[in-house]
Symmetry: C2
């Protein structure tokens, strides 16, 4: 009576959460200090002080029955306006209040836009490695997700592969830079070349091809690395932002999407997005948290901790002989496993209470993801175990 | 390129919100005191003090990076356990932690369960009048919603009509008591009779028929009215609860659903629900608010204000000659319009800055909904306008 595909999706669960839960159980047995949990991308750095100052200010000045009331489904008008203003100041764009939809992180935005843009059929495409939930969003509307490979080792865009992967029924591409799970920031030139390719394909296929720019990690970049703003050179881009990582509020679910006024079918898409958000049962985003977050837009947690973690972990692991993708952003390190079967490596590491996630879950076998948004001590304590495994696998040391 | 059905849904918008927004605009022109806004069911009574005390306690004792971290998709284990314990204490049920899924209000629960239970086809049924979003949840998965009439005037269940409306492909019924928009509490005997009818139909059709019990208003009843707990006499019931109304936190989106362990296909449904929640882009319910709400379960806002509002409004309107359904619960009054066209009545009332919602939006023409979760002064100030309209329509006074 129940679609067995849904049942098996539900049963297979989320491997990241499962390994994390195993870690929590192990911590009870061997002590939390002896479990090195690199599984989940939940920031260990506290939100910046301005978050709580803003919350206090709102609680002191707005009556509770207003601060916790329903907000309109697309967000409070003043919150939408502030988001538009911020983008316009930052990127020279021309968003209006009505081009912004406040969402529960980028996940809502992606799930809803995928249903909208594939509502008359077609397929979606993304680049490996990618956040595994994309597949659920696409397949749950009865469509297929094309996984386009990127360049070996660097994980930068492979334009020739992209051209081969595009088909006349490709309606949208999901682009995630800085990338989860690789930490790679896509280079501006390659994104601009992709935009030119898409412009050509739009003409060839006779329909728009949209980019969903999934950018929860935009503010988490190190050494002044640039994150190209895709809508500035490709108008059919829906920009999706989240406050989850930048201000360490992943559990509170606030973000937004921005639809350029000049985007093809703008008004139809904006209207259909509201219908889908309603049909999914999203009444509104937390009224309090959307007000808090928007008043702190531009602030970030102290990301210098992540940078130090990255430097320490990347340095130590490569020195041990592991091969890693150099991460310019996010808080993930993508490490080649010393045996081809990444899941086998994960199981072996689990026995040592070292918890990492196989790249298979991100469409990229032979790698593991290390979420280094942990306290620096976790990294230090984990290194002897990484070294032990490196020696067992006979890596150069 | 975009499904025009979605576009038109999005364009048609939410009539309640639209009238409410008109009211907000009018308030700027004639002053907020001169707009009598009965459109939106957002509580005017503050949350009980325990909500904020709990929030302060959690903020003082839980590190921010934990209090605002991701929670598991089904909710924090301790939150699920507390919800199960509360239900078991209150209703003598035997829910386990794993039978509870924390949701963003009942809307998520309904939208997700409708997709799950109709995933192999079939149709849904509900009783008029009903909350309009049910139709979106059902139609967006490509299915149809049967609107079964209730008894004239009383809006209690009409068992004969229900039997006629049931078809071999009816997979689920949505029951909302206390009811939005009528305020009616369905009588236990009629619900038990419905349960017996469904038991018989399940055998006849050879498949389970599920009840989704949408109960955000369970705690808002007056004069000791009983709200029957449907799962206690019909095992295939998914109980859906929200903290939105009981503790005045509608904008913060916390609720849960409970799946009886003995329910048919329990494990498949629980697994598929998690897949759908994930596919809709719900990563988790606000981690902070789920912890706050569960620690206050059983508390309510000071609902004596709503009772006084009900008594005053019902008394005054019936005295003016209006015909109203007596509301035992929720904070809605369903009033028969003095002309058959409820929308015409609404437009006429709008000219007097009296804002009410036509019953057509709830599948029941000829009525308007008055959300009386307003301050008592709004009611007092509105009465002369109601009286003026009654006189214009020639009602007895």
């Amino acid at each position: 009576m129940i679609d067995q595909k849904l049942v098996s999706w539900g049963r297979s669960g989320n491997i990241i959460r499962e390994i994390a839960e195993y870690g929590a159980e192990q911590a009870k047995i061997v002590g939390p200090k002896n479990v090195y949990n690199f599984t989940i991308g939940s920031p260990s750095i506290d939100p910046p002080a301005i978050i709580f100052e803003t919350m206090e200010r709102l609680r002191a000045t707005v009556p509770p029955s207003e601060l916790h009331a329903y907000s309109p489904a697309a967000g409070l008008p003043e919150v939408r306006e502030k988001a538009a203003d911020f983008l316009n100041r930052s990127f020279g764009s021309a968003y209006r209040k009505q081009d912004i939809i406040i969402t529960c992180g980028t996940s809502t935005a992606l799930a809803a836009m995928i249903k909208v843009l594939l509502s008359c059929g077609g397929r979606a495409m993304t680049f490996t490695p990618y956040f595994m939930d994309y597949k659920y969003y696409v397949e749950s509307v009865g469509a297929a997700l094309t996984e386009c490979p990127t360049m070996p080792e660097s994980f930068q865009l492979d334009l020739e592969a992209a051209e081969r992967a595009l088909t006349p029924d490709t309606m949208l591409l999901i682009i995630n830079s800085p990338n989860n799970p690789s930490g790679v920031v896509l280079r501006r030139e390659s994104l601009e070349a992709l935009a030119r390719l898409l412009e050509r394909k739009q003409r060839e296929y006779g329909h728009p091809i949209y980019i969903l720019a999934d950018e929860p990690y935009r503010d988490l970049v190190y050494d002044g690395q640039e994150v190209a703003y895709i809508p500035s050179f490709y108008k059919n881009t829906v920009y999706c932002y989240s406050f989850s990582k930048s201000v360490s509020l992943p559990g509170e679910r606030v973000g937004f999407m921005a639809l350029p006024p000049e985007m093809d079918d703008h008004d139809d898409i904006a209207a259909a997005a509201m219908a889908v958000i309603r049909a999914f049962g999203y009444i509104c985003v937390s009224t309090m948290w959307q007000r808090v977050a928007i008043d702190c837009i531009g602030a970030t947690s102290d990301i210098s901790v992540y940078k130090r973690n990255r430097d320490r972990l990347y340095g130590a692991l490569t020195e041990m002989g592991y091969s890693c993708v150099y991460p310019d952003g996010a808080f993930y390190l993508f490490m080649k496993t010393p045996e081809p079967d990444a899941e086998a490596f994960c199981r072996r590491a689990m026995k040592e209470n070292l918890l990492v996630v196989p790249g298979d879950s991100f469409g990229t076998p032979g790698y593991v993801r290390l979420a280094y948004c942990v306290s620096p001590e976790v990294i230090e304590r984990s290194l002897p175990t990484f070294r032990k495994l490196a020696e067992e696998y006979g890596l150069k040391s």
